[in-house]
Amino acid sequence: MKFTSISLAILGFFMFCSNATAQKTGSVLIKNATIITVTSETHTESDMLVVNGKITQIGKNLSAPAGVQVLDASGKYVMPGIIDAHSHLAISGGLNEATNPVTAEVTMEDVINPNDVGMYRALAGGVTAIHMLHGSANVIGGQSETIKLRYGSSASDLVFKNAPRTIKFALGENPTRVHGQGNGIQPRTRMGVEQVIRETFDSARDYKRHRETYLKAKADFDKNPKGKSEPAMVARNLRLEVINDILDGNILVHCHSYRADEILMLMRVFNDYGIKNYTFQHILEGFKVAPEMAKNGAFASTFSDWWAYKFEVYYASAYNAAVMNSYGVNVSINSDSGELIRHLNHEAAKTMKYGNVSREDALKMITINPAKQMGIDNMTGSLEVGKDADFAIWSADPLSIYSICEKTFVDGVVYFDRDKDPDDMRLMINPNDTFSAADGLDSMTGRHFDACMQDVWYLFEESYLDYSSSFWHGGHFHLNRTER
């Protein structure tokens, strides 16, 4: 097969990546940079040594061990890799199992799409880890997955090892529209949303009691069957097992929310069931209940300035993040978008303009704060000795509109290098698509719709749905519909 120069370049890039993937980690010495640790002071004209994927030293006049590449970053800024706590990148076959108000049994881990070029575009914006979330059609949606952007790796190699399990909840209009309005089943109202959560939690506890009783009886029978009857089996229930894991504190909740009343409601419910360490996603009215959030230790992952795309999000403010931050709430700025993720540094900078958030806190909102919300702050999110070497080199202060991400490292391995950036970084090619459609940019030029509701709009169509000839292909749902 004849290879073009572009193919060779891409092949070379992935040979480089695959070698790195085989090693899993990289080593490098960054010299003479401004090193923004985020969690402690910023070091000027300093060095950072990375050995086998871990930060081993930060200081001046460091020397490279034998064989370790030295990178002169004079005049550049090094900051932790940006972490997006709300992304729908790299998902195959639909992100909304929007057919039931509770679908805790589904998991993003099953549907990681390692070929999504959006990951490479995010790397070009200095992003190193994302939180792949289920959509927001269901009160209790699916389990999420935290991945590192090791673009070119297999789905299993993208997974952020040892990251806690997380799950998506959703309040308000999305679940009430999809299930109540769309299908005439609970929840039709915000009150119904609360009841779905409570009833599901109670069902899970009932199931756990039955299942554990069975398992104990079975163990007793297996140990000494004499004079006993084998107990009838209580089948495993995947959905309720996941709910129990939430109640037992083994899964962190990230809940799509907007209004102050529903935010207070969920905190009451979680207090009733002893659930802690949860994050509200979007949370546009968080500024109204910031003290209560701080009191309950609730986290917030919000937009910088996006609202008015549906009724419940008209009451919003660009000062939202700043207000919550001022009350001591852990706040992150997220993208929920394949486009916005490429410049989350700009989104964070907006909090300085609207609310006078400090430079340090603004940077935390896209690094260590989302890391805490995802439970990975002991491994990444700041530049500290012992942590994973997930970082990016910027041409200038990363909060400047003029700053450009030049290199992005994950585990000490370069996955984006502006100096070696081929035009075409797609991993999978469709032999039959058109030149104009090939880059996939036509669907990500801005926020025209609620990304969390992707794939579910057909539920609201009154037209005749020709389900039998509809299908998933290439990550998109192709619905054939015929107007009545």
């Binding site: 097969m1 073009t4 572009i6 193919s7 195959s92 076959g93 639909g94 992100l95 909304n96 199992e97 929007a98 057919t99 039931n100 108000p101 679908t103 049994e105 589904v106 998991t107 099953d110 549907v111 990681i112 799409n113 390692p114 070929n115 699916g142 297999s154 789905a155 299993s156 299908n183 089943i185 009857s229 009838a232 089996m233 209580v234 089948a235 229930n237 995947l238 959905r239 035009d423 075409d424 999978m428 090619i429 469709n430 032999p431 039959n432 698509d433 030149f435 090939a438 794939d455 057909y458 539920l459 005749y464 749905l465 020709d466 389900y467 039998s468 299908f471 998933w472 749902f477 619905l479």
Partner: protein, 458 residues
Amino acid sequence: MKHPILRTILSVLTVLGVCEMAIAQAVPSQAFTNVTLHFADGSSVSKATILWRNGNIEAAGVNVSIPFDAKVIDGGDSLHVYPGWIDGMTEWAMPEIPRDNARVPDPGNPSYDRAGIQPHRLPHQMVVTNSRDFTDWRKLGFTAAGISPRGFMLPGNVDLMTIHGTEANDQARLLVQGMGMRASLQSSPGVNPSTTMGVMARYRQLMFDSQALRTNTRLFTSNTNAYVAPEPDPVLESLWPVMDGKQTVFFSADNPEDIRRVLKLRDEFGFKIVIVSGRNAWMMASELAQKDIAVLATLNFPAKPSFMTQSAKDSVDKRTAEHKSHNQRQEETWKAEVGNIKKLMDSGVLVGFTGVGLRSADFNARVKDLKDAGLSEQNIVQLFSTNTAKVIGHGNLLGDLKKGMIAGFGVYTHPISDSKSKMNYSVAFGDVKYYPIPATAANTRGSNSRAQSMEGDK
């Protein structure tokens, strides 16, 4: 024996039994003589004979004794006999998916049927009469197939059937019921599960439920007084052979990510699997070989990109450099997909054929694509015959010209690698179908002028 009536009945039964044996023996054998036999291993023997009776091959080779009752066609030293092609998994003569799928009241809890969970269905009971599928595919050399219903995640069993007669309601015979279980990651739109992750979760829950039903059924039947009778569930019960590893799951998956999802389920539940379609399976050929996973590969390749056609090459090229690079990658991808089967075979993966999604009218063109991709005649013969038979677990029954195997083979005017080759006869489960050769083609067949039909004897 004192009872006269009983004696009479026994006498009659004895006579009837003898008659039945006589009738069975009286089924005449049939043979092609003076033909070249092409075996699945690539060897061939000329001036040979293939003899069969009751649908089974009795001899294939030289020095074959022809029984006195045999009906013989003399191949005139110019006909070539190949094993009958087998479609490892197909939808021949299966009813279309119902299109009346209006929205259901509670899409989270649809019926099994609406959710596309129908593993209990038996395709041999669903064959649509008057379908042209058997006729069309037989004409292309096919004599047997694993037939499965159309559907979504669990459409039903895969039954091994052989083409047989020509009557509208008797075109195929069942050889093996439930040879496999058809499965995919395809959801039934509008109901749970509606996404790939939903399908994955549903497979797991089905296995848990099936396991519990089985356990509780066993307990109940062991002591009906001590246990509550479990609710019968044909869907869950039909998964028991899969749980036991006694029934192979024919799992459709095209790209490496989906194949890995299938492997994940296999690892979790211990399924025996065959990958069906596997359009981009070449990307993980060595992994499949290492894990000893067989593939029933599709020939339903993507359309040849328009810029690769001769007319496009002849026209003025106005593409930018970037556009050309894009097209170059498309061309490489297209060639890789057409080369899928060769790459898999070269890597040591056992590859058979599935015709799901392929029109019979496109079959010969796709075979030509395979040849262009470097597949040899021997590879092609193996792909459609013995390899497919082995993949579906019936290599001892089908796929070669050996004594004891089912008499399914094609008789051609030339070796199949010869572009002039035409099918002259199809023998399926012993049933002979004659295809007249147009005069121009017949004239090129040298000394063979004795083509004749056995159909008149049927």
